[in-house]
């Protein structure tokens, strides 16, 4: 770490601060991958169901929002965690 500071010509605290910011970005970015794919699958299948059976659209929409809510929770945990990551 000492050597890195000399090489980058930085104050000691700056490196840790920058790495924390990078860590925050990675925490949220990584947490968003899975839910992103998951919400895509949920909504895609809901649209297929609605197109096949438009009379069931109301029920499908309710269930779709439920599925989105459960999937999305993981991404939001990551969002909150990115603030908690010690800075």
């Amino acid at each position: 770490m000492e050597l890195l500071n000399v090489l980058a010509q930085q104050e000691p605290g700056e490196l840790a601060e920058g790495l924390t910011a990078v860590g925050r970005g990675i925490v949220y970015g990584a947490a968003a991958i899975g839910p992103g794919i998951g919400i895509g699958i949920v909504v895609g299948n809901a649209i297929t169901a609605m197109a096949r059976q438009p009379e069931a659209a109301g029920m499908v929409r309710t269930t779709m929002f439920l599925g989105i809510a459960f999937t999305e929770a993981l991404a939001l945990f990551g969002f909150v965690l990115s603030f908690i990551v010690a800075g």
Partner: protein, 258 residues
Amino acid sequence: MPAMSALALEFPPVSHVTEWPSIFGGEGPLAVNKVVILMWISVALVFGFFFVAARRGKLVPTGIQNFAESIWDFVRDGVVMQTMGPEGLKFMPLLVMMFCFIVVTNIWEVIPVAQMPVNGRIALPAFMAVLVWVIFNVMGFARQGFGYLKSVLFPPGVPKALYILVTPIEFVSTFIVRPLSLSVRLFANMLAGHLLLVSFITITAALFTVGPGLVIWPFSFALLVGLTAFEVLVAVLQAFIFTILTAVYIAGAMHPEH
């Protein structure tokens, strides 16, 4: 967290846009700040709205009573009937109040002067999640007695040996992750929306100076207006999701899984 700067724009740190000074000079957890004032106004608005709507109940509703009844119908047809069935109708007062209160507390996000969602701080979502947790557990024990714990922790149809794995997972997901995710979902959505609007307001304000920035200023402003409309959608959608999850949790506790 220090102020971040990108492209020579100074973004305020998160604490500057979510932490408000105490108004009446109080200290600690009982201090009254802008968020608390907005919450009180929301309580008064929701109470006043339904009080006025129900004061002169008419068979053929007009005006404000019509609006209140359309909200009631929306919650009954869109939430209760889809998840709990007719026996969930006795939870209608709880669910309608919850829906209206969350919509009003969320919508402060886009109201000028206020510009702060009450649910952007975790206190109110956490309290409501604890309330839901207590209600669905009480309903479970009231309906099924101690069979409730058995039906939650030992779901039928699972091979005996797998209970070593299934029981801890079910315990954590039902009694710990449910209230946690319920509160964090609402809180994080509103906080994220708030930060998004703050970021675009900062960018739009910073570009509004004579210079090269003025060329792209209209695009930034148009996106800000679009995002404001999107946040109105998110405010109502999150209230709907919170209400429907409450209904699902209560319905799940009242009926054993089979």
